[in-house]
Amino acid sequence: MLGISKRFGPVQANADVDLTVGRGTVHGIVGENGAGKSTLMSVLYGFYTSDSGSIKVFGQDATIRNAHEAIALGIGMVHQHFMLVETLTALENVMLGAEPHVLLHKAEALVRSRLLELMESTGLRVALDAQVSDLSVGDRQRLEILKALYRGAKVLILDEPTAVLTPQETEQLFGVLALLREQGTTILLITHKLKEVMRLCDRVTVMRAGRVVEEVAIADATIEGLAEAMVGRKVQMGRVGDSEKAPGAVLLQARGIHVRDLMKVVRLHALDIELRAGEIVGIAGVSGNGQSELLEVLSGLLAPVRGSLSVGGRQFEAGAWIDPRTARTLGVAHVPEDRHERAMVMSFAAWESAVLGYEWLPHYCRSGWMLHPEMRKSTADMMERFDVRPRDAQLQCSSFSGGNQQKLVLARELGQAPKVLLVGQPTRGVDIGAIEFIYGQLRAMRDAGCAVLVVSSELDEILALSDRVIVMNQGHVAGELPIDECNENTLGMLMIGGGNANASDRAKAAQVQKVAV
């Protein structure tokens, strides 16, 4: 792929990206969130068309306008979210769309024999007659790979394949990939886990902010070097707005939070976290490592299978978890990551969404009757304080730009003077001018004694705001560092899951040193 550029509105997802992959090699593509790796692969697989640039497959020029053309060229993709029909068997899923015969029993016989050969040669074993709903996550992924191989994929793209696998399943996958490489299949691995890249890949491309920043053979690379390239910035010390005060009392404490999703995949492993008054804790880490689940658990949207929570003088256990309304009464405010679906009712006017979650407050509602003048006044105040444009409380929420929507949500939550503030992606979609303003607001909350938790996929943001940084990886706390210990090295290492023990040991050692001094 040469000179690939792709823009989505104001966002330049890919800028002049070159990618050359040798036949029969495993090529890793790494980067943080928003680096552009998924976009690049989507262009290759035909989901998007690039604005400029060219693609050559096996030496021939190629235009790939949709997934079918990609498949025809021998490109197969295994997505992060599997595309399987649960009520059909594994065999039927592989066959769908490419059945060799009208009559199913004949088609199945043909497909089965080919699949058995494939399974032999690649070592990918799946129970072909099992219903997909009975298959484990690892099995389903193997099935997806088989599907791609069955359709003659010579180039296999894998998007964050180990995100949902257990360690054993990960090992099995590595074995399969190694075997496939030996057989001449070219593999493109999108991941943020540098350890895997070091193990499996022949070459690696590092992307950041839509550009390629490094491309190197694994033999010549080091984890540290890659981490630095991935994170790639020097952390400034002595930031503006640092608080002079030490953090105060613990306002929220969660212990042993264990969360499983619908597919029984563990999202949070016995996690502990503490939030103190007058401190901003930033959760760094690539999205999908449990940060979203953490926010949902602490705000009461999601109940863990195990764990306890202590906030506002009350205790909650896994069977009787806190709910969002109780959380608000205890002074916990939540700015959700998902603005569109969660934070506002898009079809409401601004002045109605401005009280979402707080409509029951005596300030807004008396004996069940909503006090419209108060609601409107509050909205006007919010819009004034956070400079929301257009300054029209009657306007439907969906008509505001993303940034202004976010400002309105922040105004609403911060305006409740909470004791604990949980924020997910505070400046996603917000214009540059407003970002500093929002940071200022968050710092002001902290200075007023609030305990703030910020989850962000933008490392810059975490570094700008946090007093203490927690790095999450695969549902665990990979490490915890006070801000002055954070640099691209330590953080990068924690984020990629390399040197876990070392980092937290170092952190502990550093903390001990600090106290001693």
Partner: protein
């Protein structure tokens, strides 16, 4: 309970169940592909009218059948246009078709035949006759066989047998052919099917076309085999009963077939039980028996008789994301 009664009970059951079976199979094909079909009632009514009107106008069974099936296929396509091509609400569309059917059949009936909405009776040549009267005659004298088998099973017209044959046929189509596999997949996970290279819209329209054909048969049966003339609102809720049978049968052709037979049996029994006290229970009100199919379906849906799992994509229009 003597043989003559058993025989006639079986016969009644089969006769009453036939339009239910045809309609339920129609609904099955549509819903398995992910498109809710509330409009079965309206389509059946329209088909009955078309068969009656064409039967009188052209004096031919074949033409009556073709007109009926053509009409319902068009209605199914209309449903598809609103819901598959344009993401309209599938339930509202079905309700609309039902209301339009009631109105339009009466309007056309009055306009064309001036008999207050009825069509004149269709002649006996056009109506579908018993297929094997000779055999039934021959079996008359034989004990047990004569009444139960002869009267009960063999005295019917071709459409009844067609309906019975369609059950295994639809089953075969759904579970033994490529088309059926894709149909089932589209109703569960349309994204996956699209990514696999099969057109979701085309599958759904194909299902709707078959749905239309079967509804056409169901409606024609009412006029060509049961009543001889179209009467306003003659379907009397049978389309909904077929829907109930479909759900009761958990969207499976054979199970839905048994549900249809059960509902047909209840209907046949209801008339006979009127005024007859049952041992231990006393007189069962006829309305209760008539209401049983609906009651049973609600109980089933409430989960008291096993779990119901509808096709996953049922009711959700497919949006090509990305």
């Amino acid at each position: 309970m003597d043989e003559a009664m058993i025989g006639s009970l079986i016969a009644s059951t089969l006769r009453v169940s036939t339009p239910l079976i045809l309609c339920a199979l129609a609904g099955l094909l549509s819903e398995r592909a992910g498109v809710i079909d509330i409009g079965l009632e309206g389509k059946m009514l329209f088909a009955a009218f078309a068969a009656g009107a064409a039967g009188v106008a052209f004096g031919s069974t074949a033409v009556a059948l073709i007109m009926a099936m053509g009409t319902t296929v068009l209605l199914s396509w209309l449903h598809g246009f609103a819901c598959v091509s344009h993401r309209g609400d599938q339930v509202v569309s079905g309700v609309a078709i039902n209301i339009i059917a009631v109105g339009m059949t009466a309007v056309l009936g009055i306009a064309w035949f001036a008999q207050g909405g009825q069509t004149p009776p269709v002649t006996t040549e056009v109506r579908v006759q018993a297929l094997m009267p000779g055999v039934v005659e021959a079996l008359q004298g034989i004990p047990v066989l004569g009444q139960v088998v002869g009267q009960g099973l063999l005295s019917h017209n071709a459409m009844v047998y067609v309906a019975l044959l369609l059950v295994p046929s639809v089953w075969w189509l759904m579970f033994r052919t490529r088309f059926g596999l894709r149909l089932r997949a589209v109703g569960e996970n349309a994204h996956m099917v699209d990514a696999a290279g099969v057109s979701v819209a085309r599958m759904r329209y194909a299902a709707l076309t078959l749905n239309g054909l079967l509804c056409g048969l169901a409606g024609s049966y009412l006029v060509l085999a049961q009543n001889a003339a179209f009467v306003p609102n003659m379907t009397a809720g049978r389309g909904f009963m077929a829907l109930a049978a479909l759900i009761f049968g958990k969207w499976h052709p054979v199970k839905a077939f048994w549900a249809c037979l059960l509902f047909g049996f209840l209907d046949a029994v209801a008339i006979r039980l009127q005024g007859v006290p049952l041992p231990g229970i006393g007189q069962v009100p006829v309305q209760l028996i008539q209401a049983l199919p609906y009651l049973l379906t609600v109980i089933l849906l409430a989960g008291f008789i096993g779990r119901t799992v509808a096709p996953q994509a049922l009711g959700r229009p497919y949006l090509k994301e990305r």
